[in-house]
Amino acid sequence: MENNVILETEGLCKYWGGLKALDDLSLAFHDNQLHGIVGPNGAGKSTLLNMLCGHYKPTSGKILHRGESISSIKPYEFARRGIGRSFQKTNIYSNSTCLENCSVAVQRLMGGSFNFFRSRYSQKMLDEIATQALEKVGLGQRRDHIASQISYGEQRQLEIAMVLATSPEVLLLDEPMAGMGHEESQLIIDLLSRLKKEYCIVLVEHDMDAIFELSDQLTVMVDGQHLVTGSVDEVRDDPRVKEAYLGQGDEVY
């Protein structure tokens, strides 16, 4: 098959006390594809991403990486396997420069993190790879700016640059366009349409136009339940989806 399955979930469940945030979810994510996830607020989209990256442990069910169950490995080992993620709420090193933000990511691959004596500023290679990650998302000119002082949209781009700097294979992106203006969103859309040729991307996003434009596969979730998965056209015309969204009433605008 042309598109290999990289990441898979089997009967994945997450309960918060009595609340079923995620109930019996089985999905497959393919290489060089963008898999969109949509659903109303509280559908369990972030919960899913948080489990795919190892941040939460599943209540039951399995996560498979290239066929191997990884449900019980440590959170940091997910990133080492090439599963990188960005966060719904901007999560960066706000008091460091953009370059430094990416350098932390690159250093894991370059090694030397237990070196007490060698200056962190002494390796050109590391700087170059970090700079490339910034350039990839269009933040090249912001290299030496402090992360807290760039615009909100740029911080979202930096999020993605940091993930890219870890040389991942899977990108888990949680609402990268949240709170962005139209032009900034367009930048991210262009970026993602380029990136999806190289990576396996799981994208959670409320912006329907963006998700319809980008997704190769699309999953709709409601209240922790899987509703439908298919191509954009299949999902758009599915009567259950229309019902679910209309049935939500004022929660979806």
Partner: protein, 322 residues
């Protein structure tokens, strides 16, 4: 650059030359030489704590445990009536306390915030009561050190530890090396991780780092240096007793670190100097010195929100800005 703040450079360039010349000004006035020696030993201790609390964000109330262990390990392993080699025992003491820190850190670093404060305190208190109640180690009286170590290295003996001025210089050298060590460490690749973990642990895990290991290494290093300070203290006064392990020792060090400017490293020296300076002057003025001291500390912490170091940095930057 290693010293990246103006205030820091200024301080280092004033403090160390002055400290180098100090014994000449004091004209062998032993009392003051000893006082300053103690301040430098305490500065090493406070600096290692400042690294943990201010740089790594690991808030411990049990650092005195290692300070005390530095002394107790020495009296445990050194023969009573024989001069051992100072450098070799420095190595032993650092290695043993590092091993202890490794084991304790394994448990302590699984917790954080208030729980970590409680557990570090609990370990320190256990050690405190163990030595207070132990007959072998003289209970609350502690143990005397009858013979001070000799300091020969490759047949060259630089310091005579019975001579207060020599001991002063040994402690000054130790303090300088500790400062240098931490500055190099913080600038290193390892330091990058220390900064990242402190600023945003969750993000650092998401980037694929096992942050536990980095914290453990920091904890071990800082504890070994804390023990080294305790070893020096024991050698200076010729005894070790449980008060070195007491939680007030940890608390006082924490106050000194906050006063100096948490995480600034060189601020540990400033904090210790100011605290001990106040202590000394007030003690001679009034018998209610503790009351005034408390008030003054509260006032200073309120005025200097980022400690004395932070205040100096802001001052110099503002002046530059205009």
């Amino acid at each position: 650059m290693l010293l990246n703040k103006r205030a820091e450079r200024l301080f280092v360039w004033i403090f160390f030359p002055l400290a180098l010349l100090m014994p000449m000004f004091l004209e062998q006035n032993e009392y003051y030489v000893n006082k300053l020696t103690t301040i430098m030993i305490l500065s090493i201790f406070v600096m290692s704590l400042d690294y943990l609390v201010g740089k790594c964000g690991l808030i411990t109330l049990g650092h005195a445990m290692f300070y005390g262990l530095g002394g107790y390990i020495f009296v445990m392993i050194a023969p009573e009536y024989e001069a051992v080699n100072f450098w070799i025992y420095t190595f032993y003491i650092c290695a043993i306390s590092a091993t202890v820190a490794f084991v304790i850190g394994f448990l302590v670093l699984r917790t954080n915030g208030i729980y970590m404060i409680m557990i570090t305190l609990a370990f320190a208190q256990m050690t405190f009561y163990y030595f207070s109640d132990s007959i072998d180690f003289g209970g609350t009286d502690g143990v005397f050190v009858y013979v001070k170590p000799e300091t020969s290295i490759f047949g060259l003996s630089l310091f005579d530890l019975d001579n207060p001025t020599h001991f002063y210089y040994l402690c000054l050298l130790s303090l300088f090396n500790t400062l240098l060590f931490f500055k190099v460490l913080i600038r290193s690749r390892f330091g990058r991780l220390v900064d990242a973990i402190h600023a945003n642990p969750g993000r650092t895990v998401a980037l694929g780092y096992n942050i536990f290991i980095y914290r453990l290494v920091s904890y071990v290093v800082a504890s070994a240096l804390g023990a080294y300070a305790g070893y020096l203290f024991t050698l200076q006064y010729g005894f070790v007793n449980p008060s070195m392990l007491s939680w007030t020792t940890s608390g006082t060090a924490l106050v000194m670190s906050i006063l100096g400017g948490m995480g600034s490293i060189y601020g540990a020296i400033l904090g210790t100097l100011v605290y001990e300076g106040l202590h000394y002057s007030l003690e001679h003025l009034t018998e209610h010195w503790l009351l005034f001291m408390g008030g003054l500390i509260i006032l200073m912490v309120m005025v200097f929100k980022k400690g004395i170091a932070g205040f100096l940095e802001d001052l110099l930057e503002k002046r530059d800005g205009k």
